[in-house]
Each structure stands twice: as structure tokens, then as C-alpha cells.
């Protein structure tokens, strides 16, 4: 927000220190990442397959039986 709009306002020491640290308005400088909405009808490429271990398979056997 524009502080220049209020000529009566003065920066207090902690606020000034903060302003020097922060990128803008309470947050660090932006570092964007793309987050595309996933298509539920389409299977994306997997990073690789992890097969469940013996302990997990045994637990599933108990669950089913």
C-alpha cells in the first residue's frame, strides 16, 4: 500500500526495519511455481512404481481375511 498517501504517518524503527527485510507487504519476494489443475480423466506419467513390501502385503491379507 502506498504510504505516501498519508503525509502524517512516520515509520517507527521496528516498522522501518521490517520494511527493509520484507519483499513487500509482509511476504518474501515472489518465487512462482506452476500448479496446473489435474485432469481426472487422464492418467499422467508416473515417476516410477514402488511395489508394496511384504509387511504391507501381509497387513492387506489380514485386512481382507
Amino acid at each position: 500500500m502506498d504510504l505516501r498517501l498519508n503525509p502524517h504517518l512516520e515509520l517507527t524503527p521496528p516498522a522501518a526495519a521490517f520494511q527493509a527485510r520484507a519483499g513487500s507487504g509482509g511476504m518474501p519476494p515472489e518465487n512462482p511455481v506452476e500448479m496446473p489443475p489435474q485432469e481426472l480423466g487422464y492418467k499422467p506419467q508416473r515417476r516410477g512404481r514402488h511395489w508394496p513390501g511384504a509387511a504391507v502385503l501381509y497387513a492387506r491379507f489380514i485386512l481382507v481375511s
Binding site: 500500500m1 502506498d2 504510504l3 498517501l5 498519508n6 502524517h8 504517518l9 512516520e10 515509520l11 517507527t12 521496528p14 516498522a15 521490517f18 520494511q19 527485510r21 520484507a22 513487500s24 507487504g25 509482509g26 511476504m27 518474501p28 515472489e30 518465487n31 512462482p32 511455481v33 506452476e34 500448479m35 496446473p36 489443475p37 489435474q38 485432469e39 481426472l40 480423466g41 487422464y42 492418467k43 499422467p44 508416473r46 515417476r47 516410477g48 512404481r49 514402488h50 508394496p52 513390501g53 509387511a55 504391507v56 501381509y58 497387513a59 492387506r60 489380514i62 485386512l63 481382507v64 481375511s65
Partner: protein, 650 residues
């Protein structure tokens, strides 16, 4: 278990001469028994689980402690964050962590309180870790949209994010362990902790807290055992690999109208399934402890939260068939759906039982079904077998609770903290009885929720009440009078039709009949205190408060409550005004040709007002937000006089 139960049920009624109602009864019985048998099987599977491996230390990374908030009490949220940061500093593990508060607050006063409290938090943690704060102007897609906005704008800065709820607490060793697990396993996308409930003071809160303490660990252990790397995510108290989350967990907007269409409400299960679909591991850390959250204080608060959750989970019916989801991810989604559908299923089963009683009372049995029949066909209903089946179902239902009790009795910590063997056993019995009384009330409430969702009614988004404000008799009466009337009417009709059936239905009807006093009692702090003094429903955390929890309580107690009327405070305190203006991102510009009308009306009202009181009385809640977000309007507000600050002093 289900096959055995259904086979026995078929013996109760003669399969060959089964009526339509009996057939329906068996169908719903099979589904319900399958549901409780699944829970029992899951807990039994947990017994096979080995302890989680202890992770080593990995390369240095940057992790955001992310807390999305929505009109919460900032004194409590900042106290929790400060306590966690201080705890990390105490073990010299604070480097590489940053606090990020993501506000979606819609109330101007809440927002102002947040920025002022965040500033205090920032100053208190200056030497420990940075504190960031961002409030969104548009609450698109609620909490999931809040996180998505953060990831898309600042996500590149962080390797991981630990997502917290407003009432979450995670101790330093657990935070460190979560981080190390991510650093040492590059395929791990989400690691979910199993939060314990703390801080309950009301009767119902303590009931939930004790249940979570005794049964929670065996349930989560079972879940973790069979889900393996296809675990689940509960939306908070979990660490997430930011890049993987960004790449694979962007939520789609579902086609169709609300409540099934639109934004995904219960995003966590879906994000876990998407993460798994992308080939990342989603695991549950069940052995590390040190992770807490709070529970709603009363039955009505649980019902309000459940309405939102019901809609979110039922919405998953549109998602469960998505391409590429692992079978286990589909089971997680299915379990969420069944958590809510099981209530109407139970209700339908009771209805069929009632209809069968009416049928046997009003319709004469057909003794000779065929033209050439020598002997009559007697109506068959094997009471002894039915009793055996009832006890079988009860055992299946109680397996998770019994295993939880055994674990609690074997745990020295729980025995000591919950009143010894007698205290644990007595609390267990009390919990079972009270749960049985509350269950039919919750069944009717959830059935109504499911009905409303299918009728297309949206839940809205109300902030969760976290204090113990109590439930008045009037609130309880308005909320539960229908439940009470229904129980009375059913009892009278069933008494005339079949007194033995009334005996079968009495546990459910008793809970409904007592719903008003039960609901009133649920929010009572004095009842909670009495139980605590009697060492009933007590958890180890009450006797020995964990240092982190104690520190948060201390910070809340010692903290200066932020101003109630935020705008008035900003108008009269120049430094606070500066802090607020400086601590927020600039308001995004309105789209060309579509200016925000509230900014204009707010400005005009400030111009017309002759005093601060007049301006504050005229401004609507939306206009108050506009004023709080505009330095120029705030300054205009500050120039208005009031009784304490006449014009010549401003």
C-alpha cells in the same frame, strides 16, 4: 467376518421363502457389517506393522511452517507458532524454517487483529526465524485455494511445507524428524503425522479426547500398515514436498453445480491420491508422537463441522473413479464416503426392521404357498440365532475399542496418566456407554446432512468454534427437539406393534430421547471438570502437559488481547495503522470496467460522516474490509473526531 455374518443372517430367515423386506434387510445388514468388519480388520492389520524407521539427516533445505487461517483468534494461532519456533530454537533446529501465515479472513476486525498479532510474533522471533503473513482478497476454493495461491506465488522458495491447522501443534523433535524423513527419502511426497487431541475442557471434548488417546493409535497404525506407500493426508500436521505438490496436486474444478460440482472441498484425500498417482510416496508417521490438534467443544459444534465434511466426502463420489488412482487411494476415498453414508444405511435398516414388525402384526402369514401342499410353511425367525448374530456384530464393532483398551492398559504412560488400570477401565466403560447414547443422535444428524447434500444444498463456510462457549438449553432444544419427538413417537408405535422389538430398539431410542440433555451436557465445562477430578476420561497430557502445549497456554495467558474493534483501534493508533498497512500486500486492482462498488460506498460514507462513531456505525462488514485494506480510506477514517479525540487534537 462379513460372509459369516451374512450366512448366519440367511439362516435366521429361510432363504427360499424370503420376503422382499427381509431381502432388503439382509442387503443393508451385509453392507453395515462389512463396514464395521473393515474397521476391525484394519485395526487387526495394524498389529503386524513394524516401527517406522528413524531417518538420518540430509542436505539443508528450506521449510515453510504454513498455517492457513480463517477468522481465527490470532492470540492463539500466533502463540502456537511462537511456541513451535522457540522449541525448534531450543534444540538448535530452527535454521531452515520460516513461518507463513495464510489468511482468508473475511472480517475486517479479525484481519486487523491478525496483522497486529503477526507483527508482535515477528518481533518476538526476530533472531529465530522469519515470519510472513498474507491475506487473500478473494477466497477462491477456500483452504485448498489458499494453499494453492501460496504455492503458485511463493512455492519456489521452499523445498517443503508443513501444513498446520489453526489449532495444530507439532513439537520440535517431530518437526525435525518429519524434515529428515523428507530429506533422506527423495520419493516421499507427503508424510502425515497422527495428531492427538488436547486441550478439551468440555464433557464432549473430553470424551473425544479420551477416545482419540485410547483408540486413535491402533486405528492409525492399522491404516498405515495396510496403506504402506499409498497412505492418506488429513489436511494438516503433515509435511509436503512443495515441488511434487505443485506438479501433481493442482485440484480441478468439478463439472456441475454445487454441492457435487465446483471446487473440491475435502481436498486432502484427493491431494494424497493425486500425489500417489504421480508416483510419489504418501506415508503416515504413526510412531513419532508430538503432534496435536483440538476437537470441537460440543455436539452441536461437531454437527456443524460434520455438515462441511459430509459434503466434502460425498463430493468424492465424483472423484473416486479418476484415472490412474491407486486401488488403496480409492479405498481411502471410499472410506470417507462410507463414513457418512453409513448413517443413512443404519437408519434404513432400522426402518426396515420397523416395517417388518408392522408386516408381521398386520398381515396374516401365508401358510400354504402352493396348491398341493401337505404341510404348512411356518413363518421363520430364529430368535436364538438372531441373538448369536447380535453378539457377533457387537464383538466385531468393539474389536477396535478392545484392542485400543489392551494397548492403553499395557502402556505405562497411559495407565499413569489416566488413573491407573481402574481409571482406564472405568473411562473405557463410560466412553462405550456415552458413545452408544450419542451414536443415534449423530446418526440422525449425519443422515440429514447426507439428505441435504443430495438435495443440492451447500454447506457454506463458517469458522470452527474452538473455545468452550457451552451449549444453552435453548440451543439444545432447538437443535434436538425433532430427535426427541421421533424417539417418543417410535417408542409408542413399536410398543403397540411388538414389545420385543421395542427392547431391541431401546438403546437407539434412549439416546434420541435424551438428546436434549445430552447435547446440553456435551458443552459443559463444569461436567468436564467433575470428570477430571474423578480421573475419568483423563489423558496423560492432562497430568503431564507437554512443554510445547504448556508454552502455548502460557503465551495465550500472558498475551495482550488484540483490539476487538480493529478499525477504531487503527483510527486512533498511528503505529498500529502503519503496522497494518505495511504488513499487508497491496489490494489487487479491480478488473477494467468492473470497479468494486463497496470501495466507493465506503469512501462516500467516510466523506459524509462527522464523527468516527457515525462512520463506524454506517459501514457494512464488506465496506469495513475495504477501509481496512486502503491506506487512503484508513487515513480518512483517522481524521474523524470522536468524544475522546475532538477535531483540534487529531
Amino acid at each position: 467376518m462379513t460372509i459369516y455374518g451374512v450366512y448366519q443372517m440367511l439362516q435366521v430367515v429361510r432363504f427360499a421363502s424370503m420376503t422382499l423386506l427381509q431381502g432388503l434387510m439382509i442387503f443393508f445388514f451385509a453392507v453395515s457389517l462389512g463396514w464395521i468388519a473393515f474397521a476391525a480388520g484394519s485395526v487387526l492389520a495394524g498389529a503386524s506393522k513394524r516401527r517406522d524407521p528413524t531417518p538420518g539427516s540430509g542436505v539443508a533445505t528450506l521449510t515453510a511452517l504454513v498455517m492457513p487461517i480463517y477468522n481465527e483468534d490470532p492470540l492463539r494461532t500466533t502463540a502456537a507458532l511462537r511456541a513451535m519456533a522457540e522449541a525448534l530454537a531450543l534444540i538448535d533446529a530452527h535454521r531452515g524454517f520460516e513461518i507463513v501465515i495464510l489468511s482468508d479472513s473475511t472480517n475486517a476486525d479479525s484481519w486487523i487483529r491478525e496483522t497486529l498479532s503477526t507483527d508482535l510474533l515477528r518481533n518476538s522471533l526476530l533472531t529465530i526465524m522469519p515470519v510472513w503473513y498474507r491475506r487473500r482478497w478473494q477466497n477462491i476454493a477456500r483452504k485448498s485455494g489458499n494453499l494453492e495461491d501460496f504455492v503458485t506465488r511463493w512455492g519456489g522458495r521452499y523445498d517443503h511445507m508443513i501444513v498446520l491447522d489453526a489449532d495444530s501443534l507439532i513439537d520440535a523433535h517431530t518437526l525435525q524428524r518429519l524434515l529428515q524423513a523428507m530429506q533422506t527419502d527423495p520419493d516421499l511426497g507427503i508424510l502425515q503425522t497422527a495428531p492427538q487431541l488436547i486441550g478439551a475442557t468440555t464433557f464432549f471434548g473430553r470424551l473425544q479426547q479420551f477416545a482419540a488417546c485410547v483408540y486413535g493409535p491402533v486405528i492409525t497404525r492399522g491404516l498405515s500398515a495396510w496403506s504402506g506407500d499409498s497412505g492418506n493426508y488429513w489436511g494438516h500436521n503433515a509435511i509436503i514436498r512443495t515441488a511434487a505438490f505443485a506438479q501433481y496436486c493442482g485440484l480441478p474444478k468439478l463439472a456441475g453445480r454445487k454441492p457435487f460440482g465446483g471446487f473440491v472441498l475435502s481436498h486432502d484425500f484427493v491431494e494424497a491420491a493425486l500425489m500417489r498417482r504421480g508416483g510419489w510416496k504418501v506415508r503416515m508417521a504413526t510412531d513419532c508422537g508430538g503432534s496435536w490438534e483440538e476437537s470441537p467443544p460440543s455436539l452441536i459444534d461437531v454437527a456443524i463441522r460434520d455438515r462441511r465434511w459430509a459434503q466434502g466426502n460425498l463430493q468424492h463420489m465424483k472423484i473416486i473413479g479418476a484415472a490412474g488412482f491407486s486401488f488403496i487411494s480409492r479405498i481411502h476415498l471410499g472410506v470417507g464416503i462410507m463414513s457418512y453414508l453409513s448413517s443413512p444405511l443404519w437408519l434404513v435398516m432400522l426402518g426396515i426392521g420397523f416395517a417388518l414388525a408392522v408386516q408381521s402384526h398386520l398381515i396374516r402369514p401365508e401358510y400354504f404357498n402352493h396348491d398341493f401342499q401337505l404341510f404348512p410353511t411356518w413363518p421363520r425367525f430364529d430368535v436364538e440365532l438372531m441373538m448369536a448374530l447380535f453378539w457377533f456384530s457387537m464383538i466385531v464393532l468393539l474389536i477396535p475399542k478392545m484392542l485400543g483398551l489392551v494397548r492403553a492398559l499395557l502402556s505405562r504412560r497411559i495407565r499413569r496418566g489416566s488413573g491407573g488400570v481402574i481409571g482406564v477401565a472405568a473411562s473405557f466403560l463410560l466412553e462405550v456407554i456415552l458413545s452408544a447414547l450419542y451414536a443415534p443422535v449423530l446418526m440422525l444428524i449425519q443422515s440429514r446432512h447426507v439428505f441435504e447434500v443430495f438435495m443440492g444444498r451447500d454447506s457454506g463456510w463458517k469458522p470452527q468454534r474452538r473455545d468452550s462457549g457451552g451449549t444453552t438449553w435453548s440451543d439444545a432444544w432447538h437443535f434436538h427437539k425433532r430427535h426427541m419427538f421421533l424417539s417418543c413417537a417410535t417408542a409408542v408405535i413399536v410398543w403397540f406393534l411388538s414389545p420385543p422389538l421395542l427392547a431391541w430398539l431401546s438403546p437407539a431410542l434412549l439416546g434420541l430421547f435424551l438428546s436434549v440433555p445430552l447435547s446440553r451436557a456435551s458443552g459443559s465445562e463444569s461436567l468436564g471438570r467433575i470428570l477430571s477430578r474423578l480421573a475419568l476420561l483423563r489423558t496423560p497430557e492432562e497430568l503431564e502437559t507437554p512443554p510445547l502445549v504448556a508454552r502455548r497456554q502460557e503465551l495465550v495467558r500472558l498475551g495482550v488481547a488484540p483490539p476487538v474493534d480493529g478499525l477504531r483501534h487503527l483510527a486512533r493508533h498511528r503505529e498500529s495503522r502503519l503496522t497494518h498497512i505495511n504488513g499487508n500486500l497491496a489490494r489487487p486492482a479491480d478488473p477494467r470496467g468492473r470497479p468494486d462498488p463497496y470501495a466507493f460506498t465506503a469512501e462516500q460514507k467516510l466523506k459524509d460522516a462527522r464523527s468516527l462513531d457515525e462512520a463506524l456505525a454506517w459501514l457494512t462488514p464488506v465496506e469495513r474490509v475495504e477501509v481496512a485494506g486502503d491506506a487512503r480510506l484508513l487515513n480518512q477514517l483517522a481524521l474523524l473526531p470522536d468524544a475522546e479525540h475532538p477535531l483540534f487534537l487529531i
